[in-house]
Symmetry: C2
Subunit: 478 residues, 2 copies
Amino acid sequence: MLLLDLRKTDGPLYRRVYHALKSMIRDGRLAPAARLPSTRELAADLRVSRNTVMLAYEQLLAEGYVVSRNRATASVASASPVSAMPESSRAKPAAPAPVSAYARRLTGLLGAPPARSTGLRYDFRYGEPSVDEFPRQIWRRLLAARARRTARDAFGYADPAGYEPLRAALAEYLKRARGVVCEADQIVVTSGSQQGFDLAARVLLDPGDVAVVEEPHYPGVTIPFEAAGARLAYTPVDAGGLQTHRLHTRARLAYVTPCHQFPTGVIMPLERRLALLAWAARTDSWVIEDDYVSEFRYEGHPLEALQSLDRDGRVIYVGTFSKTLFPALRIGYLVLPRSLVPSFRAAKWATDRFSAMLAQEALTDFITSGQFERYLRRAGNRNAARRRALIGALQQHFGDRVEIAGENTGVHLVVWLNDVRPRDLPAVIARARAAGVGLYSVAPFHTSPPPRAGLLFGYASMTEAAIRAAIRRVAEIV
Amino acid sequence: MLLLDLRKTDGPLYRRVYHALKSMIRDGRLAPAARLPSTRELAADLRVSRNTVMLAYEQLLAEGYVVSRNRATASVASASPVSAMPESSRAKPAAPAPVSAYARRLTGLLGAPPARSTGLRYDFRYGEPSVDEFPRQIWRRLLAARARRTARDAFGYADPAGYEPLRAALAEYLKRARGVVCEADQIVVTSGSQQGFDLAARVLLDPGDVAVVEEPHYPGVTIPFEAAGARLAYTPVDAGGLQTHRLHTRARLAYVTPCHQFPTGVIMPLERRLALLAWAARTDSWVIEDDYVSEFRYEGHPLEALQSLDRDGRVIYVGTFSKTLFPALRIGYLVLPRSLVPSFRAAKWATDRFSAMLAQEALTDFITSGQFERYLRRAGNRNAARRRALIGALQQHFGDRVEIAGENTGVHLVVWLNDVRPRDLPAVIARARAAGVGLYSVAPFHTSPPPRAGLLFGYASMTEAAIRAAIRRVAEIV
């Protein structure tokens, strides 16, 4: 008679019988090839219906724990999980994992993803969205309306390039607002601009290829490039942006932020833009234009994109809604030269098929209804006021002791501290943090430590009052 | 006096002045270094306010089309877009695009993504979701509730592994329903299972590495593997699934569908499962278990996953909601051995940061409220009835002329046509298509043409009546 403990698991009775038998087979109490009692016998022993035992046996049979020549007799399979597992492998501690060169490079570059800061009263972290002012109610309504009327088709597999009406709306918006010359079929919707950079790394870079990046630079881009095995040619940025006369002559691509260099905030003038495009044409290389936040320019109209000058189909334009709307939306896009469209569509399809549809549909309505640009104007005014508040507070409390860099664009400022030595900056940041203010050094954006102590202030998610209060606190502790 | 045509563009007056000047600079009517009229002069000429002209000049200045030594005089920059562009590059036709080996392999493998079939009355395409029965109203309510109470944090950047409560709900569900042994921190939420396969290809495979795949096989997986540069070792499947005695001895990984082989539908018995795990431990390689549709088993309880037997941390378990819920949701997940968690988290972060949050939040509620499993039971009953209807109709109309393969699981059937020669199958499919019925050959899932004519029927999205009517039509034309 088999002693089965049916109390160890819960669920339907047959599952408990099944689990009890399986655990006996697994730990060897029921040996390989041992004959099981008949379903009738076991049912009588356990005082359950015969049907219950039959279901349990069928399950064990289906999973191969038990073999049966006919319906009447069943026995434990000759290979049981424990006996079949080689001793050596069970005893062995976890071996060093064989992972790819990509994975090894990546973990070397990245370490752990950045932890969220907590417990800060005021946080100047860059990239925090300005959620409180986002028209959440309008967005919710658009989502709900789309969820209600979604067509049958919209649940299935879709075009890897993204929702066609969204691409049409983007093409129209980009032409009007950014001077970008494109049609909807040149656009690939991505899961944030990060996926755009990563797809570009995969489609354009082989291990050993040279990629020009700005110095200082945005590491979100250099990480996928380096992980793809590219060698980075850091090219200095001065008051006119990337120094185009110093461009590497054998690069596969150059990554630039011409409308608001990250992090310095300088704008690349026309002459250099043209030099960059001429370099790309001459050296048969690509230019990736990261137009991450040019919607926010606080004097005059936003600058037109570099892409608008591209006559040779060399510029890959990368846009995102993470800064204008919010990061958790995960929608960005690429505007591609026609020659690259098939490769990027294929890469998107092989990577994750296509981006989720509902948010794309709601975003289409947000753009075509004019809500998006109305929101941009409101957010732009708000950001301008926050920028003024930040500059004003810095000037009031620090005067000549700080130097504010960058043009009147974007959602961040670089501030150089004239009377802090670079090596003392971490202590200043730690003191500010202890006082509840999150400050961030510009050092992570430099390959070698910058000669001066600099801070990068993201201000889009803080009210003017909070900005003033935070700078006052910082002034007290510096 | 400058002749500006302000009617060519619309928008604010200063924009029209700006565009008119820029187009003159661009086409050379205003030559490099030419002096522009003063703002006062031009304003008088155009009968617009001086402020309008100043705004236009500032914009041109900011973009570098114009230079200015002082506020009074401005002239065209010495580098103008057209003159700076080398003649040769402008004249040149689009050069063959320098793209990566990955992109070249991928486009060779993939060609154009599959077109959507249209105009078919009945379509047995595999992978179409059963949308009509999906509890859209419940889903909408969950989405709306989450959109309403979304916390401030949920708009910003998030954990690359995905929404923690979703991972906890998945770990609990997988343990209960699939025997998968894991904790939430071993799960990475992906954009569909495709991203899971692609991340695995990147993290585990170097160019030249051998990857074992089943023959016949699911090409959605082999494409990212081959594009990553892997050499595929096609290993035959028989009535017991992958023939484990024929496993390559120097492979980096094996991709398997043990609970319902795709497309044959066979189930891998315990003995082979253990042999596969022993092979992985012995050869220091990984096993990717694609558990794509095991929730739907129509006799007894679903089989436990291969992962439940893994004692050496060798199995990467891939799950998806594309078959159980719908593909446009774009949510899948990986259950990883602990040793691989850091690499996959880093790869997800570098690839697209994290998957969109709102759908993850709603899905969490769908699972923890029990709605998901209730829906699975309903969908399972429905699929079972559809499967019976399909088998019944095939037997009624074709009798011995067809052979139905595969176990009682999943959302598709493979049917061999005994009296159709393989080379005649395309004509049969074309005739069916002309009669409004979409039929699909199994040939694309084989590396070399299968010796018999076989069809793969997806039935999850068709009613029983439609299935019977479609098979009747097919019978009339075969």
